[in-house]
C-alpha cells in the first residue's frame, strides 16, 4: 500500500507518531509472551499488544507501506515517545508504563474521536479498546500498590523511574489538533487519583524541562530502543519478502 495522498503532510506526520507509539508498545508487551507471572496475565498482555498492533497497522497505512515502515526504518526515523520503548523491567515497571500510557492514549483518543478530523474513525473504535487497557493498568496499580510490602515497594520504584518520561506526551505534535495543557491536567488528575487509592506517592521530580527525558517525537531514542528494533526487524531484513 502506498501513502494515502489525500492526507496532508502534517496529518501523516501525526499518524506516524501515534502509529509508532502503538507499534513499539505492542512489541514490548509481546516480549512478555512466555514470561508473564501467571497465564491470565500472559494472555492479557498479548491481547493488549494485539489491540495496539491493530491500531498501528491502520495508522501506519495512512503514512505508507506498513511493513516497510515497521521493518526497514532506522532508529532515528521512529517518532514514538521514549516512554513506550522503555524495557519491560519487572511486572511493576510494565504496569506503571501501561498506567501512564493507556491513561494518555484513552484521553487523547476520546478527544480525537469527538473531533471531525482524519483520526476520528480510528479513535472512535480504539478508544473503546483502550478503555480496557486503562482499566487493566489501574486495577493492577491498586493491587500492587496496596498489596504486600514487596509489591508496594516495586510499584513505587517503577512509577518513580518512568515519571521523567511522562512530560513528552503533552508536547505539541504537528497535525494533531488537541489541547495539550488540558490533556495534561486531565492525565495528572487521573493518575494522581489512582496512585492515591493505591497508597503510592505521586513521584517527585521533573516531567518536562532540561532534567526530564523526551524528544522521541524528534527521533531521539534511549539506548535500549536500538536493541529492541534489532530483534523486531532482523527476520524481515535477513529474509526480505519471505512468506509462509
Amino acid at each position: 500500500m502506498t501513502a494515502d495522498m489525500t492526507l496532508d503532510a502534517t496529518t501523516r506526520t501525526a499518524a506516524l507518531a501515534l502509529g509508532d507509539d502503538a507499534l513499539v508498545l505492542s512489541h514490548r508487551l509481546g516480549e512478555w509472551a512466555g514470561h508473564a507471572p501467571v497465564l491470565e496475565e500472559e494472555v492479557a498482555l498479548a491481547n493488549i499488544a494485539l489491540d495496539l498492533l491493530g491500531q498501528a497497522r491502520v495508522l501506519l497505512s495512512m503514512v505508507g507501506d506498513e511493513d516497510e515502515l515497521a521493518y526497514l526504518r532506522e532508529e532515528r526515523a521512529f517518532r514514538n515517545l521514549q516512554l513506550v520503548e522503555q524495557p519491560n523491567g519487572d511486572f511493576a515497571h510494565t504496569i506503571a508504563r501501561q498506567l501512564y500510557f493507556s491513561t494518555y492514549q484513552h484521553l487523547l483518543y476520546a478527544e480525537l474521536a469527538a473531533a471531525e478530523g482524519p483520526f476520528a474513525p480510528l479513535a472512535a473504535k480504539a478508544v473503546k479498546e483502550v478503555a480496557y487497557h486503562r482499566d487493566h493498568a489501574e486495577q493492577w496499580t491498586l493491587r500492587l500498590g496496596d498489596g504486600t510490602d514487596e509489591s508496594r515497594e516495586r510499584m513505587r520504584r517503577a512509577c518513580g523511574a518512568l515519571w521523567r518520561f511522562t512530560g513528552e506526551m503533552f508536547q505539541p505534535v504537528a497535525g494533531l489538533d488537541v489541547d495539550g495543557t488540558a490533556l495534561e491536567a486531565a492525565w495528572l488528575a487521573s493518575v494522581t487519583a489512582v496512585l492515591d487509592r493505591a497508597t503510592l506517592p505521586v513521584p517527585e521530580g521533573p516531567r518536562t524541562g532540561a532534567w526530564a527525558a523526551g524528544a522521541g517525537r524528534q527521533g531521539l531514542h534511549t539506548e535500549s530502543f536500538g536493541r529492541m528494533l534489532a530483534e523486531m526487524q532482523h527476520l524481515h531484513r535477513s529474509h526480505p519478502g519471505a512468506s509462509w
Partner: protein
C-alpha cells in the same frame, strides 16, 4: 439514501451467512460485521466489512470466506473493504446471535448504552453491577471475573461460583 437492489439484498444474505472463523456458531450477519454489499452490474461486487477489534486477526479469514462464498454464487469480481465507521459495538450482535453464544457456552455481552469496561470496585471480582453476567452452563448470576482478557481480545474469563465451571464472557465493547 442509498437503496438496496434485490440483487444486493440477495448477495448480502449470502455474505452474512458465512460463519465466523473463531466462533463458527455465529454467522457474520448475527455478529453484525457485514455492513453493506454494493453490486456494480452483476459481476462486480464490493462488500463492506467492519472489524470487531482493530487488531482482530480473524478479519482476513472473514474476507477470504466472503470472497469464496460469493465466487461460489457466480460473482466473478469480489472486493471486501474494511470500514471503521461507525465503530462496531457488541450491541450489534443480534438477539439470535446472543442466544447462540449462550448455547455455545459463552456468556453473551450485556446490552449497553455507554461503551467501555463495566466499572468494578476494588477488592471484589464478583459481579455487583446490574445486570449480572450469568453462567452459560447453570444460569447462576453468582459469577466472578478471573481476567479481563481471555482466549481472544473480545472475551473475558469468568468463573461460576455456583457450578464452579470457568467460562468465557463476550465482553461489552
Amino acid at each position: 439514501m442509498v437503496t438496496t437492489t434485490p440483487l444486493e439484498a440477495e448477495l448480502l444474505e449470502i455474505a452474512g451467512a458465512v460463519p465466523d472463523p473463531e466462533l463458527p456458531v455465529l454467522t457474520l450477519q448475527e455478529l453484525g460485521v457485514v455492513r453493506a454489499v454494493h453490486a456494480h452490474g452483476t459481476d462486480t461486487v464490493e462488500v463492506e466489512l467492519t472489524p470487531t477489534y482493530t487488531g482482530c486477526p480473524a478479519i482476513e479469514a472473514m474476507s477470504l470466506d466472503i470472497e469464496r462464498a460469493l465466487h461460489a454464487h457466480g460473482v466473478r469480481d469480489v472486493t471486501v473493504r474494511t470500514v471503521l465507521t461507525p465503530a462496531w459495538s457488541t450491541d450489534d450482535i443480534s438477539a439470535e446471535g446472543r442466544r447462540k453464544l449462550q448455547e455455545f457456552g459463552i456468556a453473551p455481552p450485556r446490552v449497553q448504552r455507554t461503551t467501555g469496561p463495566v466499572p468494578l470496585t476494588l477488592g471484589t471480582t464478583r459481579t455487583l453491577t446490574a445486570p449480572p453476567v450469568q453462567c452459560p452452563h447453570c444460569g447462576s448470576a453468582d459469577t466472578e471475573l478471573l481476567s479481563r482478557f481471555s482466549s481472544t481480545a473480545c472475551k473475558a474469563l469468568r468463573r461460576c461460583l455456583a457450578c464452579r465451571e470457568p467460562f468465557d464472557h463476550f465482553k461489552e465493547l
